[in-house]
């Protein structure tokens, strides 16, 4: 093999390696994106599910703090909600009830904040969705 051919072969291998790596990176990135979108979709749906649950407790206005007591720390398994999505992803949520105050509608009420998290590989929690649910003081 002449040195020209050796260089040609080396060039071809380098070019192919570069292309293969880029293709692989693009494929993984597209897959990651799809998983991320699914995760966002699940987080939004779970957040809305919890918001609906909070809304259903309007009749229990006076005891909202008790119903959702100790659900404010996502890092503690005793103070969070856990949900396994249809895609088998695990989501975590906190529910916090603010003190009675004037709400968005200029009437007295309590704002309940629902926050949905996912857990990253590092063990850290990443916020995925948050909802503020105003519960108006019953007449």
């Amino acid at each position: 093999m002449s040195s020209g051919q050796v260089f040609l072969a080396l060039g071809a291998i380098i070019l192919f390696s570069f292309t293969a790596l880029n293709v692989n990176r693009t494929y993984i990135s597209a897959l990651e994106e799809a998983i991320l979108i699914q995760s966002e979709l699940d987080a939004v749906q779970y957040g809305q599910t919890l918001s609906e649950e909070v809304s259903s407790n309007r009749a229990n206005y006076a005891t909202l703090e008790t119903i959702y007591a100790n659900l404010g720390d996502v890092s503690n398994s005793a103070t969070r909600r856990v949900f396994v999505t249809p895609a088998l992803d695990t989501l975590y949520a906190t529910i916090q009830v603010a003190a009675e105050a004037e709400t968005l509608y200029d009437v007295m009420g309590k704002i309940v904040t629902v926050t949905v998290f996912s857990r990253q590989e590092t063990g850290d929690f990443r916020m995925r969705a948050t909802y503020s649910v105003p519960i108006i003081q019953p007449d």
Binding site: M1, Q5, A9, T19, Q38, T49, T85, P86, A87
Partner: protein, 143 residues
């Protein structure tokens, strides 16, 4: 012999390289189509949930519910039936049917109540080929 080998080597290398590049291109196209399909599935299933949210706002009583069909009446006395028809979400209201082509492969309804009394929730699970999601709707007017 040596000179023949020298002549054929670059051609073989070039041929292999071209085959690899064409193969990669094919793989990229397939992968890109798959990704678009998955993304579309995910978006459509989200839209289907929004449609159901709007549809359920007027619900006043449940007529019948099973795994795949949900029938109810609304405040305007409409009778509504929601089900899956092939890949479509079908909402049949007093004989008029609205179809939402959202790529469904399965739909599941469950009526949930902790005590058998209000509050009632509708648990809806939607599956598409590459996406699935679940949500609970609070049925405000159901007692």
């Amino acid at each position: 012999m040596g000179s023949q080998f020298d002549l054929i080597t670059p051609v073989v290398i070039l041929g292999i390289l071209m085959l690899l590049v064409v193969g990669l291109q094919q793989f990229m196209q397939t992968s890109s189509a798959e990704t678009r399909f998955i993304n579309r599935n995910q978006a459509e299933i989200g839209i289907a949930m929004q449609v159901m949210q709007e549809e359920l706002k007027g619900l006043t009583s449940v007529i019948a519910i099973n795994d795949s069909v949900f029938r109810y009446t609304t405040a305007t006395n409409d009778t509504v039936r929601v089900f899956r028809l092939s890949a479509r979400l079908a909402v049949l209201r007093n004989g008029d049917t609205l179809f939402y082509d959202v790529g469904l492969t399965d739909i599941q309804f469950n009526l949930i109540s902790d005590s058998g009394e209000a509050p009632f929730f509708l648990r809806l699970r939607l599956d598409a080929e590459n996406a699935a999601t679940q949500r609970e709707f609070y049925l405000r007017n159901l007692e």
